[in-house]
Structure formats: C-alpha cells, structure tokens
C-alpha cells in the first residue's frame, strides 16, 4: 500500500480533459455552491430560517397582529411581499456566519494554496443564499395561499417579481458577505447578521408608511427595503405601483454595484493578512 500510488501524471490522466479557465471557475463555483447547500441540510438554524420562520411569521401577522393594522387591501395581500423581504434577511444571517467561519478557520487559506480561484467561495455563498431566499419565498406564497392570499398577477408580472427578487437577494447577499468579512469572530458575525433581520421593520414591509409620523414615514417610504416590498406587492396584488418598481431597481442595482467590489477588496485584504 502506498500513499503516492497516484502520481501527479496519473492524477492528470484521470482528471477531466483540460478545460478553459472560465469552465474551471464555473465548475469551482458549482462545487462550492453544492457545499453551501449541503450546509442547509446539516444545520438546524438554517432549516428553521428557511422553512419554519416564514410560516410562523405568516401565521403571526395573519391572525395575531393583522387585525390591528389598517391597509387598503386585505392585510394578508399586503403583508406577503413584506414577509418575503423579511425572510430574505433571516436567511442571510447564516451567510454572514458562514463567511466569517470560512475566513476564520483555515479553509480559504487552503483554497489559496490550491489551483482554485478563492473568491469562488464568496460567489458560492451568494448563490446558495439566493436559492434559499427563493425557497422561503415559495414557502410563503404557497402557505399564504392557504390562509387567504389572493394574488392577481399575470405571467409577466410573476416573471417581473422573480427578476426583482433575484436582484434584491443577490445584492443583499453581497452585503451579508461584506458583514461576514468585517466580523472579527463568529459571534460578531451573528451580531452583524441581526442588522439584516431588523432593517425590514423600519420599512413599509409590514405597516403602510401612511400610518407613521409624517417625517419618519417619508424617510421610510423611500428606503430600499420599502421600495422592494412595495414593488413586489404592486406586482402581485392590486396595490398601486407608483414609482416603487423603478425605485427598487435603482436602489438594489446601485447596492449590488457597490457591494461586489467592496467585498472583493475586503476579501483580498483579509485573505492576504
């Protein structure tokens, strides 16, 4: 028995045929996304965040608090889009922790000593988180339907919702990656993650801004979380769109364009430290 029976030449022989750098990077990202998705099944926190929390929130807002909040449409029709936004925030706390973990223990260091493009790790975290966000959104819409949610969206509008949510989730995930890169410890990482959980409460996700004090209401109405919640709501239900769709597009495209290079710069600095 010999540890080195597989000589480098033989390894190359059994390896798949030489592929372009782009194909290799793509394969690295797929493998690492698979890893991040596996984490979902291994981790009680993540399972709860992705599947149970959206349903609990839905029932809570539908039956406990819904009666107290006045909206122009049924509250369930109003609140679904807000809950989608909120559950995206929940899902991202594990992205923050996952990134912090990877940076703290030796795994990124190991990737850097391998023929792997190290930022693939970050891309994989984002891809997995976007997928989790869509799973949560699907859970919410299906469960919502059972408790009275009645969307009036046509196929085009559904497509627009998917596109907007993809943009929003991707941008927000990169923000989560930045928080994960900034955190000095895993505990710090989960602290930062709470920012993402609480931000939606200062938006129109759950409560119409008209019911807020005037100045606060105006600020809240134009912030990015309100924009995406309002935009999705207007597409799914009869709620008026106003300028929310454009506002959401501009906000989240801008956040994405800022967050990606920031994350890349932080990653390079932290990884080379």
């Amino acid at each position: 028995m010999s540890t080195n029976v597989l000589t480098p030449e033989r390894v190359r022989a059994v390896a798949v045929a030489p592929r372009s750098a782009l194909a290799l990077a793509w394969s690295d990202c797929l493998v690492l996304t698979g890893r991040s998705l596996r984490h979902l099944t291994r981790n009680m926190d993540q399972l709860i965040q992705t599947f149970s929390l959206p349903i609990i929130l839905l029932l809570m807002f539908r039956y406990l608090l819904g009666g107290a909040i006045k909206t122009d449409q049924t509250y369930i029709n109003y609140v679904i889009s807000g809950l989608i936004v909120i559950s995206a925030g929940f899902n991202l706390t594990s992205t923050v922790i996952g990134v912090t973990n990877d940076m703290r223990n030796g795994i990124v260091e190991r990737f850097r000593s391998m023929p792997v493009l190290p930022p693939s790790v970050l891309v994989a975290h984002v891809a997995a988180a976007v997928l989790r966000t869509f799973v949560s959104a699907t859970v919410l819409i299906v469960a919502g339907f059972l408790v009275g949610f009645r969307p009036d969206a046509g196929p085009l509008e559904w497509l627009a919702v998917i596109g907007l949510l993809a943009l929003f989730a991707t941008a927000l995930c990169w923000v989560a990656v930045i928080l994960g890169l900034l955190a000095k410890s895993v505990e710090g990482g989960s602290g930062y993650g709470l920012i993402l959980v609480f931000l939606p409460y200062l938006s129109s996700a759950l409560v119409p801004t008209e019911t807020m004090p005037k100045v606060l209401g105006t600020i809240v109405r134009y912030q990015p979380v309100s924009a995406i919640a309002d935009a999705v709501r207007s597409l799914l239900t009869e709620a008026p769109a106003g300028n929310s769709i454009w506002l959401a597009l501009v906000w989240w495209a801008a956040i994405l364009l800022l967050a990606v290079p920031t994350a890349a710069r932080l990653f390079r600095r932290r990884a080379l430290g």
Binding site: N4, P8, A15, L32, I107, M114, P115
Partner: protein, 310 residues
C-alpha cells in the same frame, strides 16, 4: 535553479508592521528528504510555510519549490505542493468523504475519479468507518488525518505540514508519525514544523532550529544530539558557588543559580558524570535525570532562554 533541492530559500524576510517575523532565513531540503523546522511559538515557522506555499509574499529574499519561484511562478508551485496548515481546514458540517470528494473536485478531478480517490485515502488513513460522519464530531487525531488526506489528493511531490501533531494525545501522535513515515517512504519531500525535539529527531533527515525569525542551527538530528546530549542530568547544589565550581568539571553544562544542567550522550556517560562530580567532593543536594527539551536545545545552541517558552 538547482535540481537537487525540492525546497530552497535564501534570505527570506518578512515584517508585520514593526514585528520582524523573519530576518533572513536560509533553508534547503533535498528531493525526497524531510526537513524539520524546530522552534518555539512565535519563532516564525508558520510565516516560512506561508511564504513557501505562496500564501504570503516575502519582503525580501527568494525561494523556489520544485524548482518554481514562489512569487513569480506561484501558480506552478501550487500544482506541486500539498499543505496541511496549523489550523484545521476541513469543513466540519460535511462528512469525511464529502470533504475529500469536494476537494478532489476543486483539484479538478472528474466526479468518478474524485470519489475513487476519496475512498482510497479514507482507507489509507483509517477513516473508512468514520467516512459518513460529519467532521465536526471527529477526534483531534481523526481531523488531522483527514486534513492531511486532503492535501494528498493529487499526490503532490512536496508536502508542507505545519505542526501536524500539536495538541494530539500520544497515541494519535504515533499514528500521525506512521502516516508521515509512509509518505517519506514514497519519496515525498516534506517540510514539517514542530515544537517537539523528539519529533524532529525521530522523523527528519535534517533539522533547522529557528528562533526569533532566524535559523540558529542546522544539521542532522545526530549532529544536534551530539551537541545537546540525549540525556540531561540536573544537579542541585547547596550554594551557587559550589555549582559554579562543579561546572568546570563537565563539558557543555548550563548553570542556573545553584542548579547545573549537564548533557550526556547515553546512560553510561550519565553514570560516569555523576561519579566524577561526586569523586571531586561536590555533594549534590538534588539529582534528576531527564530527556532534553526544546529549552535545552536553545540554551545550548544560543546560550539564551529568550523565546524558548515551552
């Protein structure tokens, strides 16, 4: 470029702010040999490894691994090395097998080849039984073995092991030594760092003592042992004065207060030295025979304890 050395470093220097982690380190490891980098915490061992594995760019000096320059040909270097870092770098949420298959895929093996290689390595590292369990439940020794297995996926000709047995219980340490010996038998070039004199002695072809960011001595374990002895006699005398006088009787002794630490090559010499001190009329108030520690090595080599904090 020289072909007889798998690892060659000249004048490596690296500072973190005003901490001079390395101040001109020279190292050579012949192809198929093991070089042990022996030194206390903070000596600069990890910094050397990170430079040689392309993770860190040195401020000064040059190094080649497998004939490739670690700065200018970093990508080539990465193709010929395996690294087992000081910190664990396996994914605790994945099982042992999943870790190996994933890493194999990241080394760009095909799916089937990655699986095949994972099973081979699990078998070789005695992890087959634990293959389906998440790595976070592994014992320290199992995790280290998995970590090492990952760095062997492509069977690289040069392996770097940063303190592979630190924190392991004696049995796991023995197991790790077995694995390392097999690697050496296969002709792999290995650079291993350690804080344990015994480990360097047992495994390495050559040992470089590193302290305060520099190599303070280099040679075969035999060379080192000749200089520090394989046994150590600790005399205690009534006063510092007596100890000082007794020191003149024996070679290579280190004085500390009323204590005298004397190296001896073997048990016969131990007996001989004790008799010589007693016959000269110096009554020891305390006597202890023990194995030399890293402290002794540095005391003997550099005449100072600074830095040796074991």
């Amino acid at each position: 470029m020289s072909s007889e050395y798998a690892i060659e470093a000249r004048g490596l220097a690296k500072s973190y702010g005003d901490v001079h982690a390395l101040r001109g380190v020279d190292l050579y490891a012949e192809r198929g040999s093991m070089l042990a980098l022996l030194g206390p915490n903070g000596a600069g061992k990890t910094t050397v490894i990170r430079i040689l594995t392309t993770l860190l760019i040195p401020d000064g000096g040059t190094a080649t691994v497998g004939g490739h320059d670690v700065v200018r040909a970093a990508a080539r270097v990465r193709e010929v090395i395996g690294l087992t870092g000081q910190e664990m770098s396996v994914d605790g949420l994945l099982t042992g097998r999943e870790n190996l298959v994933m890493m194999g895929r990241l080394f760009h093996l095909g799916k089937a080849a990655a699986r095949q290689r994972a099973d081979d390595l699990l078998e070789q590292f005695d992890l087959t039984e634990a293959a389906g369990r998440q790595a976070r439940w592994y014992s320290g020794g199992m995790r280290r073995r998995l970590d090492l297995a990952v760095s062997l996926i492509t069977a690289p000709p040069v392996i770097f092991l940063d303190e592979p047995t630190t924190g392991l219980d004696p049995r796991s340490r023995q197991g790790m030594w077995e694995v390392i010996r097999k690697l050496m038998a296969d002709g792999t070039t290995i650079l291993l760092t350690t804080q344990y004199l015994e480990e360097a002695d047992i495994l390495a072809d050559r040992v470089a003592l590193i302290d305060g960011g520099g190599v303070v001595a280099e040679g075969t374990p035999g060379d080192l042992k000749r200089r520090i002895g394989s046994e150590r006699i600790e005399f205690q005398f009534a006063t510092d004065d007596v100890a000082e006088k007794a020191q003149l009787l024996v070679g290579g002794a280190v004085l500390h207060g009323n204590g005298l630490s004397v190296p001896a090559a073997d048990p016969a010499e131990v007996r001989h030295l004790i008799n010589r001190v007693a016959d000269a009329g110096f009554d020891a108030t305390g006597l202890e025979i023990r194995r030399p520690t890293l402290d002794d090595v540095f005391l003997t080599m550099t005449g100072q304890t600074e830095g040796a904090t074991l």
